[in-house]
Structure formats: C-alpha cells, structure tokens
C-alpha cells in the first residue's frame, strides 16, 4: 500500500507532459484480462492441435464442469477484493456448507428448506465477517484467516470428522445433469455470473464497491453508505461459497469436511489473474471467469499430456507471478505519467 501511495505522489510531481504521453501509452498497454484471455485461447489452440483428446465433446464438457465450481467461488471472492478487502474463509465455507446441507438432508429435512438454511448460513457468515471488518476494525485478512480455521473446524464437528453420505437422489443427480448438452453446473455458474456481473456493472451498489476500493475517502465524502457496501461484499462472498459447497456436495454425492482445502487461494488467483487488483477498485466477473478457465485448462492439459502434477503446481505459481508482474508494470507506467 505504501508503494501504491508513493506512486500516486510521484505521479503528481511529474505531471507536465502528461496528456500526450498517456494517450500514446494506452495504445499498447494492453489490460491484463486481454493477455490472460489470449493465453487461454493459445493454450486451447495448442492443445487442440497437439492432442486428439482435448477438443472432444467429452473433454470440453469435463472442463466446463471443472471450471464451474471454481468460478463460482472466485466470483464471490472478487467482491471483498474489489473493496480492498479479502476473504480467506471461502474454502472452509465450501466444506461447512456441504456438510451442513448434507446433514440436514440425511436428517430428512426437505430439499428446498435444506438449501435455504444453508444459504442463510452463508448470509450469517458473511455478516459476521463484515461486522468484524467494519465495526470491530479487524483487518479482513486476519478475521477471514480465523474463519478459514474455525469454519473448517465447524465442518469437522458437524460431520463428526467423516463424510456425510446418503443424499436424496434428486440432489446427487443434479450435478450430473445436462441441459442442451451443457452441464447443469455450468448453467449454475452462468446464472450466478450474470447476476453478479449485472450487480457490479449496472447498479449503484456495484459502482460504490469499485469507488470504495479505489478511494475509500472519496467514497465516504460522496456520502456512500460504506457499512452497507462492506456487508454486501462479504455476504456475496460467503453465499456464493455456500452455493459452490452445495454444488460440490451434489457432484461428489457426499458432504465432505475435507472439501475445498486451499480453494480460497485458487479463487483469489483466478480473480487476480483475471484483472482484479488486490488494492481494490478494479476487477470484473468476466475476467475472473477467464482466470478460472485458464487454471482449469492448465490442470486438464497437464493431465492429458501426462505432465507431472508437481510441475503443474509450479507452472500455475509462475503464471500468477508473471501476470501480476505484467499488470503492475502496466499500472506503474500508467500512474507514472499521470
């Protein structure tokens, strides 16, 4: 953050020849989303040309399934990031919501009620995070790290340490269903993505999140209800994590307390690679989807090419670092001539 501010003041001091140079640079300074989209497309093309298994209906459907749940979690995590916060608890919330929903179902609670209660749990967790951040002033990083521990513990306690088995048929078949040749999971992701995209790009609430993340003081002075925005962002994050948890439960046909370990990191990585700034104020649902798609493609490609799983992890890590570096370079260039 210090570096960020330093950039700003630096920018102010060297303003003179700004206007022309800014315009010139913007021409070739491509936004990171475009870069990542290009990378993903390139990977798809290379895989399609070099393997006979990649561009098959079956494999594409597999990728769509694989990317869906990851994307949903990443969409949610994007919102706290937009307001310059973070939510590290989503992976554990995925597990907790899965075992809670599965336990309710196996205890005979009707499906709609079990889903509703699980979503309420998401609202409660999001509110708790937001309350801690907004009212108690605990840094989001700390409180959601605590959540990462506590909700995972909760998942173990609820499930007695083992997987919850015996879901109603309707639920365990849901994740396997396809409509118009597209997996139900992907439809779910599409609907959630569209709703969140709509909120972010078309409503005041979405715009205030961007404003708040970009310049908290400016948002406050503009009379924006900061409290409402903070609650909104964290509730979106937890509720989407609960939806993802239930979808994962449906896909695995068990509620597993070990589900979703480290998913928060994948989700954050997808958002960041998709153009979100960890300093807030910037990011999009579409970009996040592209980020998640890139990671899912890499995982799938590594499997199809038989690349060692560990190399795949290394490659993913290098990729995150590279994309963020390029993005920073781009931004520094921009603010340096501002």
């Amino acid at each position: 953050m210090a570096a960020h501010d330093a950039n700003l003041s630096l920018g102010r001091r060297m303003k003179a020849p700004a206007a022309t140079r800014t315009r010139h640079l913007r021409k070739w300074g491509l936004p990171v989303e475009t870069l990542v989209l290009g990378l993903t497309l390139a990977l798809w093309i290379v895989m399609a040309l070099t393997t006979s298994t990649f561009l098959t209906a079956n494999n594409v459907v597999n990728i769509l399934r694989q990317v869906s749940i990851d994307s949903i979690i990443a969409f949610g995590v994007l919102f706290p990031i937009l307001i310059r916060g973070i939510d590290l608890s989503v992976g554990s919330v995925v597990a907790l919501s899965g075992v809670v929903c599965a336990s309710l179902l196996t205890a005979g609670v009707p499906i709609p009620l079990a889903i509703g209660l699980t979503l309420l749990l998401g609202v409660a967790i999001g509110s708790l995070n937001a309350f801690s951040v907004y009212r108690l002033g605990i840094p989001a990083f700390i409180i959601t790290l605590a959540g990462l521990q506590a909700f995972r513990g909760g998942a173990f306690l609820v499930s007695d340490g083992t997987s919850v088995f015996g879901l109603p048929k309707a639920l365990s078949t849901f994740a396997r269903a396809e409509w118009l040749g597209i997996p139900s999971l992907f439809w779910s992701m599409l609907i959630i993505g569209l709703v969140l995209h709509f909120i972010l790009s078309r409503t005041r609430t979405g715009r205030y999140m961007l404003a708040m993340g970009s310049n908290h003081e400016s948002a406050r002075r503009a009379g924006i209800n900061i409290k409402r925005i903070v609650f909104f962002a964290y509730i979106i994050s937890s509720v989407t994590a609960c939806i993802a948890g239930m979808l994962l439960m449906s896909r695995m046909s068990i509620g597993s307390p070990t589900a979703g370990v480290a998913y928060e990191l994948n989700a954050i990585a997808a958002a960041v690679v998709g153009g979100a700034s960890l300093f807030g104020g910037r990011g999009s649902v579409l970009g996040t989807f592209i980020g998640a798609l890139l990671f899912a493609t890499i995982a799938n490609a590594a499997n199809l090419l038989g690349i060692d799983s560990f190399w795949q992890m290394v490659a993913t890590g290098v990729l995150i670092a590279a994309v963020v570096y390029v993005d920073n370079l781009h931004k520094r260039r921009q603010s340096g001539v501002k």
Binding site: K15, A16, T203, R204, K331
Partner: protein, 252 residues
C-alpha cells in the same frame, strides 16, 4: 445579505488557539482568496465551513440562515462543495462515474430493477467537459490516466454540476505545472461567473492577484486585512502575511 458569513469563529486544539475570532464574508459570484503563512489557520478555517470541525465559538450563516454542520455530507447537502487538496477521486472509475459518485441517475431495467443510467451520465459528462474546456478526452476514461490539472478539473466540474452555492478550493494549484494553473484559474472564474461563491486558498501571490476579486490575509488565527485585489500589491500582502501590521500596532 452576503452568501456566507463567518462571525467571531474560535477554535482551539488543546492549549493551542488556532482561530481567535475570525470574521469573513463571501458574496455570490466572487472569488475570495485567503492567503497566509504556513500554519496561519487557513485550512482550519475552511474545515469549519465544510463541516469537518466543530467550532468552539462564533457563528456561520449561509444565505442569511445560521448553520452548524455535523459532517461534510451535511455541508455538501446545504450547497458547500469542497475540492480537497488530495482531490478525493476514485482512480479506477471513469470521469463520469466520479462526477456522479453518490448521486447517480437511475432508470428501471425492464421496468423493474433500478440500474445506473449510463447513457445519461455519459451525455451529461460530455456536456460538462465541453463546457469547461479542460482537454479531458472523454468522460469514459478512468481518472487514473489523467494529469493533475485534468483531475482538478474533474473535481471542480463535479462542484459545478451539482449547483454548489459555495465552492472551496484548498491550494488547488499546489501540485500543478504552470500551464495547468492557468486552467484552474479559468475554472474558478467560470464558477464565479455562474454565481457561485468561491473560496480560494493559495500561496502563489501572482496567481492570487489574478484569480481573486477580494483577498483576505490571515495571520496567527486572525484575518488581519481584507482588500480588493486591484487595490493591493504583492508587497503589501506580504507585509500583512508576515505580521507587519501587528508589529506596528504593538510598537504603537
């Protein structure tokens, strides 16, 4: 009746008396410059007007009515806009989004959901940009890509658009290049021409003499001299700013 009247304004921070009875009037349609040495109390004075601080004593009236603001938001609602030294723009948002921040016009999407009326914001912003002639390429660019002067123009445009009665500019040119200063001076005059009362705080006397209708000099928490700008010189202003008049009084 003046647009804004400050009477006997007092403020102390702990043991330090920062404002010791400030009197000031501002007329609609004028630029009133407030000058003074560092620490004279200029920023403290305007923060009382814009609702950041609560006064210890004295009165402020706006349009003849006594006012007392609990927050910048209240002051803003009453028509007092402040362009802060740090400008307070959201870098990642567009020029239009910044001008309309917190007051976006909405329309009903499919006759149901309220969504931001982006078309209208775009239109109005473009109109505004054209009217202030600030060389901002277009309303959809993000503020992050703008120069200091352009950012200042956006902040002032925001005040202009929302029909402020009083606009306070705290050292608006402090970080700007010479060319861009001219533009801010032009914008300030434009505000005044629209009937807005402008309070302009600055250190550069050449600039002050150019922009202001009247000049108030502050020295150690008091206004020690008020003059029309055509009736004074840099030398005279500096005398008052450095406490020349006080020394003469105490010598007498």
């Amino acid at each position: 009746m003046s647009l804004l009247e400050v009477r006997d304004l007092k403020k102390r921070f702990g043991a330090v008396e920062v404002l010791c009875g400030v009197d000031l009037t501002l007329e609609a349609g004028e630029v009133l410059a407030v000058v003074g040495d560092n620490g004279a109390g200029k920023s403290t004075l305007i923060k009382h007007i814009s609702g950041v601080y609560r006064r210890d004593g004295g009165d402020i009236s706006l349009g003849g009515e006594a006012v007392s603001f609990d927050s910048p938001k209240e002051a803003r609602r009453a028509g007092i806009e402040t362009v802060y030294q740090d400008l307070a723009l959201a870098d990642e948002l567009s020029v239009g989004a910044n001008i309309f921040l917190g007051r976006e016009p909405t329309r009903r999407w499919l006759g149901l959901l309220p969504v931001i009326d982006r078309g209208r914001i775009q239109q109005e912003t473009q109109r505004l940009i054209d009217s202030i002639e600030s060389h901002i390429p277009d309303g959809a660019t993000t503020v992050a890509g703008l120069s200091g002067g352009q950012r200042q123009a956006v902040a002032i445009a925001r005040a202009l658009y929302w029909d402020a009665k009083v606009v306070i500019l705290d050292e608006p040119t402090a970080a700007l290049a010479v060319m861009e200063r001219e533009n801010v001076i032009k914008l300030s005059r434009m505000l005044a021409a629209k009937g807005v009362g402008v309070i302009y705080i600055g250190h550069n006397l050449v600039e002050i003499l150019e922009v202001a209708d009247r000049i108030a000099v502050m020295y150690r928490g008091r206004i020690v001299h008020v003059t029309r700008s055509e009736e004074t010189t840099q030398e005279e202003l500096i005398k008052y700013m450095t406490g020349y008049s006080e020394r003469r009084e105490s010598a007498a």
